[in-house]
């Protein structure tokens, strides 16, 4: 059945919209009007058609008919947009108390029209989404939610500290295999990027400060400047940022996916504590890895500074290292390691907690992963500020 039927409505080539509606007095003499509809009644024709229909309405009003017969015989094809047009015509006419009859509709069009009309007429009292309300209600809701989230977070950190204490008392109960896997992923595999960032960071600091100090003949202080700034501040912070981005997100996504796959529920049912089973190994791994990565980052940053010192400031490597060592105190290194441990607990803790918050589907995993990284960075910078103030008063 591949007969080609000549198209009764060849595409209009004049560029002018073709008329799809034409209104005549009904020849049967019932005092009604006859409207014939032609062309495809589909998505592409929808806008033109609707405009034509609305332009026609004043004419219809002027005629004051009791009924209108709509002749659909010339309609070639129709889709749901077309049916919508017919429904629109019906509604408009009903408002004017004009009865409407659709005539000569092909079987397909009639069936679709009937289906859409019937389905649209159905109204379900679906669930009502109450979104917000006025500003006061929304602020109040946000406050209540923030409080609940804070309680959940504190509960988690409480449980985490209990689990860490328990791990210290019974080290054999820790899943060291999982710890090692996380150490490898968070630490070993992070070495290249941490090294690169730190090296360039040291290089940049040394280069920028040498530009300022060299004219004053104080180029020799570049070594101590790089050493102190990196060991005290930038090393731990940069490492924490990289670990939050690489591993914090990974922890949250992994736990979140386990949550979605009901693996967490399965563990609970089998009598495991998800905190000890899933989160603790990751937190321990972070606690092991972050101080080591921080030391490694310090070394690479100093190396970056050394390159500038040797090439740009005509220092020997020995002098540079000597100057660096003179600038750094042992307490600087130990406090930076302490910082790294605190950052590790914060990053791994909040990331795991965000993972456990996942409910529902993939979209929630993405949202909580983002939240894990953002919250990690926020907590790290807050903790760093607290360290800065505390260390100032201790000294």
């Amino acid at each position: 059945m591949n007969r080609r039927v000549p198209d009764p409505h060849p595409p209009d080539t004049s560029g002018r919209p073709s008329r799809r509606l034409s209104l005549q007095r009904d020849t049967a003499g019932t005092g009604g009007l006859r409207l014939s509809v032609s062309g495809p009644l589909d998505r592409d024709a929808f806008t033109d058609f609707l405009a034509e229909w609305q332009a026609l309405l004043p004419d219809i009003d002027a005629g004051r008919p009791e009924r209108i017969a709509v002749d659909l015989a010339p309609v070639s094809t129709a889709d749901s947009a077309g049916a919508l047009l017919l429904m629109q015509m019906e509604t408009d006419l009903k408002q004017r108390a004009i009865a409407v009859d659709f005539l000569h509709a092909s079987g397909d069009i009639e069936a679709m029209f009937a289906l859409l009309r019937e389905q649209s007429a159905r109204t379900h009292a679906g669930p009502v989404r109450t979104d917000g309300g006025n500003l006061l209600v929304r602020v109040g809701d946000a406050g209540v939610r923030a409080h609940q989230e804070f309680v959940v977070l504190m509960t988690f950190f409480g449980e985490m500290i209990a689990a860490l204490a328990d791990a210290c008392r019974h080290p054999r109960s820790v899943r060291w295999g999982d710890v090692l896997v996380s150490v490898q992923r968070a630490g070993l595999e992070g070495l290249p990027i941490v090294g690169l960032i730190s090296f360039l960071l040291g290089l940049i600091i040394a280069f920028m400060s040498s530009l300022q100090l060299k004219p004053l003949g104080a180029g020799v202080y570049v070594a101590a400047l790089v050493g102190i700034s990196v060991v005290k501040e930038l090393g731990p912070i940069m490492t924490a940022i990289v670990v939050a981005g690489r591993s914090g997100s990974a922890f949250a996504a992994e736990i979140g996916t386990m949550k979605v796959n009901e693996e967490v529920d399965a563990l609970v049912i089998m009598g495991f504590d998800p905190m000890k089973f899933i989160a603790l190994p990751k937190i321990l791994a972070a606690v092991i890895v972050l101080p080591l990565l921080t030391l490694y980052a310090d070394l690479f940053a100093i190396l970056g500074g050394l390159v500038v010192g040797v090439l740009g400031l005509d220092m020997t490597a020995q002098t540079y290292i000597h100057q660096t060592l003179q600038g750094i105190l042992v307490t600087d290194i130990s406090t930076s390691l302490l910082k790294a441990v605190v950052f590790a607990v914060l990053i791994a803790g909040i990331s795991c907690q965000r993972g456990f918050l996942v409910t529902g589907a993939a979209e929630a995993v993405g949202r909580q992963t983002t939240s894990a990284v953002v919250s990690s960075l926020f907590l790290v910078i807050i903790a760093d500020s607290a360290f800065a103030i505390a260390l100032h008063y201790i000294r």
Partner: protein, 252 residues
């Protein structure tokens, strides 16, 4: 175990997610050794009822007793103890993705028993053979088909020889053959070991093939609208909703 104490008794249970009430005043009892199905359309609270039965959710009102013990009176440790007597097959199998099949099935055994490794290995192989997965020990869950994951999940759920086995939509996502195989496995285990089975499903084949008794939940009344043998219910029930569900018809 005394025969007159139900394996699980749900009394006047109300379940809520936030402000949305899912179940209201649900009361039912699962007898020891029976295959009990929780059935109903999507979103009527079947899985919610199941998760209350295994103590994953705490009732908003009412209580759930397992072997006569109210779950809400138990502390975390006692709840863990209680759960050792339960096995759950989750919808997707819920195998731990970072572990092989062997490690997954061995997990509850190595955590809750003091058996030597050799014995554990033999039990694991036995359980895997029971679900026709002998020889697949070293594969990771990602390397298995959906049906195999479910069967592996079943092997893990049975690792500690639980008195009650729970299934959340066991036949969802399975082709008809795998589904029939799983059905046969469930029946085999039930008759062979007398394990009580609680199954959430809306699969009519499963319902009519294996259920001893069903409860039909309805999302509008948020409760049980019919209870009993599914064949009998289909013959005798006058309730339009029951007839519609069990005959898979729209007009009832």
């Amino acid at each position: 175990m005394k025969p007159d104490i139900p394996a699980i008794a749900v009394e006047n249970l109300t379940a809520r997610y936030g402000e949305r009430t899912i179940l209201e005043g649900v009361t039912c009892a699962v007898r020891p050794g029976e295959v009990f199905l929780i059935i109903g359309g999507s979103g009527c609270g079947k899985s919610t009822l199941l998760k209350h039965m295994i103590g994953l959710y705490t009732p908003a009102a009412g209580r759930v007793c397992v072997h006569g013990v109210d779950l809400s009176t138990l502390d975390e440790e006692a709840l863990h103890g209680m759960r050792k007597g339960m096995g759950v097959l989750f919808q997707s199998g819920a195998l731990i993705g970072s572990m092989t099949l062997f490690e997954n099935v061995a997990l509850p055994l190595s955590e809750h028993t003091r058996l030597p490794d050799e014995t554990i290995a033999r039990i694991v192989r036995m359980k895997l053979a029971l679900v026709d997965l002998a020889g697949y020990e070293d594969l990771y869950p990602a390397e298995l088909s959906g049906g195999m994951k479910k069967r592996a999940g079943l092997a893990r759920a049975m690792a500690l020889d639980p008195k009650i086995l729970f299934f959340d939509e066991p036949s969802s996502g399975l082709d008809p053959v795998s589904s029939a195989e799983l059905e046969a496995t469930i029946t085999r285990i039930n008759t062979g070991t007398g394990t009580t089975m609680v199954i959430v499903s809306h699969d009519l084949d499963l319902i009519f093939h294996i259920a001893h008794r069903v409860v039909l939940l309805d999302s509008e009344t948020r409760g049980i609208i019919a209870e009993g043998d599914p064949h009998q219910l289909r013959e005798t029930s006058r309730d339009r909703r029951v007839i519609r569900f069990l005959n898979r018809t729209i007009e009832g």
